[in-house]
């Protein structure tokens, strides 16, 4: 908004310190020159036009230049007054309006005020409110002063221009001293300063290319509005104010990130704050080996900081740190929750291993990448984990660990990761010299399986894990990807450790007269070979939806040498046979995903997923990649997602169904249902409301065991 220029005509009435200078004898010449200059630019009223509809009447004064003016209404009788500084109305004639489309207008009068100002008065038949604006030349029209007379009760929108003080003119508070005939044209006495309405500043002078205003404003609008510009509803108004406040809410970005990045141009700095809470719908007490005397499954607060420093061309250092606190163990009174006493990281990340999540140096050349350090590598294209086998996972949420959580639940490990680029083909090699095993729900944690025994009579020796210092314990992997038109495909091989140890029977002992097993959990070597592929196409002329963009994804992993706990053999061991209590089988897990792009920004994915233990036999425990407690398991996942246009897509709903079927013994294994509503509060803040239910299936099934873990969760995240 440009400062309103001083006008000589206003000086006597506004004795500001600045204008007083102009009244002194010394600057009098300057003042008179200014006055002359201004008068030379007097705004001449060239025409008056009016139009009217049921709710408002528009008066348009066509002027030959921009003007300083003020608009206000007076009562007894009702009038609207337009004071125009430094103007004349040579072409303006008094006139009477009679009915028709003139709304409340009954007559037009005008007279000079003071030295060169003009007052135009419209007599009205009834009380109205007045709004005004000034428009610049446009579309064949010149400068215009537009006054809208809005019928009382025509809606709050009639008041809306008071939200727009740039050009809107509000009638001044009218002191009681003002007589009814203050604007009487026959006696153009300068109005006392006390009743001079605040002049409306001249709208910013329109530049040729911008800031022009539409001539349509001077014409009857096609859709006369009774609706308020500002919504009219208090709730909408409140939400709107909230939205506008949230739009600029980025305190860490503004006050931390930006200053740091300005100070250290080579440094990139970002992160997020996230709060997750899940609460059980019911507290169910003892269930299997779990005492479900708690409500909150998680009250997690995660803070991530990611920094990246550009050392030199092609060389960067990246670090990611996490701080996590889960209030589940502190903020509710529960005897069933005690995992924090077994492993403190269940409650808070208090070890450097957990806090320093990733730290690696990368070296890049056009055809080559090398990353050395602690990092995570995600292989594959599918939702879920099929060839995503490189890193261990923190599976503290058990069956409620979702694909979008993998980024924060993978356990980065130290490795050298190199990739070679040969046109459409890439070759990645991994040399993993550290090992991270999976972290499964601990006894006494919210997601501890009710099927898991909390104690054993066996003699359990410390777990034997691969060691970083032992060259023979290191892991190796290779991945090859290739693109060929609409088809991309890839293959992986990894010589790795099973992320979960299996108990090996070392022998038996007699304790208190009973024979017990002596066991040690051990990780075993696995050979993984996998493939991934995707293909895109668009079906045409599909009924209802017309075109149907579709992508097919396929992923499969064959694993050789998976050890399973074999309960038949363990029984034989107890009976005195010489056996390690394990069986070795190969497994296959695979999925096909078909993703459809439906109308209204709707996505539908159907992803049948298969898990098979080859040469299966009865009495096997869990093993990598195989069926869940059975020979095979089948989960035909259905995912549906769409935003709601009435929220301008800020609200999104997605529904995922995970039905489980097992064979050859178990049959129906239960249904997991996840319904999530996501709402974007701003560019930086997002919230989720999630219902997750576990239904049907027996208490020994993967989902069935959690039948009484139905929960509602909310998540709030701020990214900066």
């Amino acid at each position: 908004m440009k400062a309103k220029p001083s006008r000589p005509g206003t000086i006597p009435r506004r004795l500001t310190s600045a204008t007083r200078l102009l009244t002194r004898p010394g600057p009098a010449l300057l003042a008179s020159l200014l006055a002359a200059s201004s008068l030379a630019n007097a705004a001449v009223i060239e025409a008056v036009r009016t139009s009217s509809d049921a709710q408002r009447t528009r008066i348009v004064l066509d002027t030959d230049s921009a003007a300083n003016y003020a608009v206000f209404t007076l009562s007894n009788p009702e009038r609207v007054v337009i004071d125009i500084d430094n103007s004349n109305a040579n072409t303006l004639a008094a006139q009477n309006f009679s009915g028709g489309h003139n709304g409340p207008l009954t007559a037009l009068r005008h007279a000079k005020r003071g030295a060169g100002d003009l007052r135009v008065v419209f007599d009205l038949s009834r009380k109205v409110t007045a709004q005004s604006m000034q428009l610049g030349p446009d579309g064949g029209y010149g400068n215009r002063i537009v006054v809208d007379l809005v019928e009382l009760g025509a809606g709050a929108g009639a008041e809306s221009p008071d939200k727009a003080p740039v050009v809107a003119s509000k009638p001044p508070a009218r002191p009681a001293a003002i007589a009814a005939g203050d604007e009487m044209l026959t006696a153009p006495t300068p109005a006392p300063s006390t009743i001079t309405p605040t002049p409306v500043p001249v709208q910013q002078a329109p530049a040729p290319a911008v800031a022009r205003t539409t001539p349509s404003a001077a014409l009857p609008q096609p859709a006369p509005s009774s609706a308020p510009a500002s919504g009219g509803s208090g709730i909408r108004n409140m939400f709107s104010r909230f939205d506008r406040a949230m739009a600029t809410f980025d305190p860490i970005g503004k006050h931390v990130r930006q200053p740091i990045e300005r100070a250290v141009p080579r440094l990139q700095f970002r992160g997020f704050l996230r709060q997750w809470s899940d609460v059980l719908l019911e507290r169910n007490g003892p269930i299997g080996t779990v005492n479900q005397d708690f409500r909150f499954l998680q009250l997690q607060n995660l803070f991530e900081l990611e920094t990246s420093y550009h050392v030199a061309d092609g060389i960067d250092i990246k670090g990611i740190a996490h701080g996590l606190y889960d209030g589940t163990y502190d903020w509710q009174d529960s005897r069933g929750l005690y995992a924090d006493s077994l492993d403190r990281t269940a409650e808070v990340y208090n070890t450097s291993e957990r806090v320093l999540r990733e730290l690696y140096v990368s070296y890049r050349k056009p055809g080559f990448d090398l990353k050395v350090g602690k990092q995570q590598v995600a292989w594959g294209k599918m939702d879920g984990q099929f060839i995503d086998i490189v890193n261990g996972m923190d599976r503290r949420e058990s069956v409620q660990l979702e694909s979008e959580d993998y980024e924060f639940r993978r356990l980065p490990t130290w490795m050298a990761n190199s990739t070679f680029y040969f046109g459409d083909t890439t070759v990645q090699t991994l040399y993993v010299f550290d090992f991270e095993h999976d972290r499964n729900p601990l006894p006494g944690s919210p997601w501890a399986s009710p099927l898991a025994p909390t104690s054993t009579t066996n003699i359990v020796l410390p777990t034997d894990r691969p060691e970083a210092g032992n060259f023979s314990d290191h892991e190796y992997g290779i991945r090859v990807d290739r693109a060929a038109g609409a088809l991309t495909y890839g293959f992986i091989y990894m010589y790795a450790w099973d992320k979960n140890p299996v108990e090996r029977v070392l022998g038996t002992s007699v304790q208190n007269g009973n024979t017990v097993l002596q066991v040690r959990a051990e990780h075993k070597r696995l050979h993984h070979a996998g493939a991934t592929m995707d293909y895109g196409m668009t079906f045409q002329n599909v009924p209802v939806v017309g075109s149907l963009p579709t992508v097919f994804r396929v992923e499969a992993l064959y694993t050789n040498g998976v050890r399973f706990a074999d309960f038949e053999k363990r029984a034989e061991a107890l009976a005195g046979s010489s056996t390690d209590g394990m069986s070795t089988h190969d497994t296959v897990r695979a999925a096909i995903a078909i993703e459809f792009g439906l109308p209204h920004r709707t996505t539908l994915i159907f992803q049948p997923s298969w898990y098979q233990t080859l040469n299966h036999k009865e009495g096997l425990g869990a093993g990598f990649g195989g069926g869940f407690g059975d020979e095979w398991s089948f989960i035909p996942v259905v995912f549906f997602s769409r935003p709601f246009a009435f929220t301008r897509d800020r609200l999104n709903m997605d529904l995922t169904l995970f039905p489980l079927i097992g064979g050859s013994d178990s049959g129906w294994g239960g249904l997991k249902t996840k319904l999530r509503m996501t709402y974007k509060f701003s560019q930086f803040v997002k919230g989720h409301l999630i219902y997750t239910g576990y239904d049907t299936g027996s208490s020994t099934d993967l989902y069935g065991q959690y039948n009484q873990w139905d929960n509602v969760g909310w998540e709030l995240s701020y990214e900066f």
Partner: protein, 442 residues
Amino acid sequence: MNSESGKGLGRTLIYGCLPGLLLVTCSAFAADSWRTVANFTAEERALYDPATSTPRDTTIPYIPAEPYPFEAPYTAEEMGFRQAEFVHISRWDYLMVDAFGVVTSSGYINQGASVGYIDNPGQTGLMGYITGTKPGEVYGKWAMYDVFPPESENTQQLWFPARTDIENRSKMDFFVYSPSLRRVRRQPEPRRDQRFPDNSQTFDDVLGRDPWELAWEVIGSDTLYETMRFPSTRQTIVLNIDGQGFVEKPTSSIKMMGDDCPYYRADGGLDAWVLKATTKPEWLPDYNEKYYVLWLEKNTFFPLRIEKYGKDGRLMMVEERLGDKSNPALGDFGYASFSSMYWNVDHDLIGYSFHDGHTLREWTDEEVEMIFSAEFMRREWLIEPIKSQVLIRDPAEWFLRPHLYPERFPGHRNMTLSPEIDARYRAQEAAGRVVFESGGDH
């Protein structure tokens, strides 16, 4: 017009009568800014060929036989082809940062910024698209690297747009890299007439509609004095200009087609043809949009304003552009839409897309091989960062809803707004800045 005799007559009219016509034209424009075809000036009649059926190309039957870029007088179809030169992503090789966003009527804003690397191999321009690529083949490679908002940082997209015809309708092969998933995925191509989530732009607003998918009609001429409007609350803008770096410019100094355009009238306006383009059902079955009204700058045919109407005839969207001669070597074909605004009238969404830091670039074979491949995205390597400061900090600084011009071409245009939107529009016009449901005050 395609016959030689027709061309000859046209040229005679143009060159023989031009001085007199100019006088007539000037006086006519002074009187009014828009005219229907029936009221065309003599100059306009000389430049416009009303023929609706012209000879076809022998190899590509859906394009005119007359060699592109055609000669005056122009048929409506020829103008339609010429405007197709100026799609949202220019038809040459360059890099830029695309700052984009939308504001809702409540004041919620959603913005993004992506560094874009554009490779359009082969012949540049519309003819490169039409004749340089066979239907079904990929004609470009566009890599977009998100740098804002924080949630999207390092997200990348790779677009392989394809030349289409009635048999080959798939517009694009499309990959996304999500850093939160750490995965590169092929995605279903977006539906053409569907706006992007949380945005007012549709896929076809970005990719452009082929001129042969529309039936063209000239409905008049007009003069525009402004297109994309800055609010009074945004007096300056910092642009990243190739070779100059960040330059702060008064928003009032930004012209509709840049400073170098020679076609401004003395009063600053740009004369435009006004065309109506109706979707052909056989080419665009089940398409959500029925017709468009376009204001094309008279000399270059650069679209200054595009209105979109639905099947029920309602106004769906208004797009306005600021152009710039970003590729001077191409002359009148070198204009780029360096900034566009998209007002989705259905939802009162005001969107924009600002192509800042436009830099012409010849990609080496090595770069093409490296950058424009899906697996490259996994490297999270922003090889050539370009910065921009055009993102809008506050909803109060948002671009204004565009003009309505309800009195112009009333037989073809329906400017009816819902009462609420109309009220906000009026309040905006009074305020000089966007007015939200909670008003326009700070």
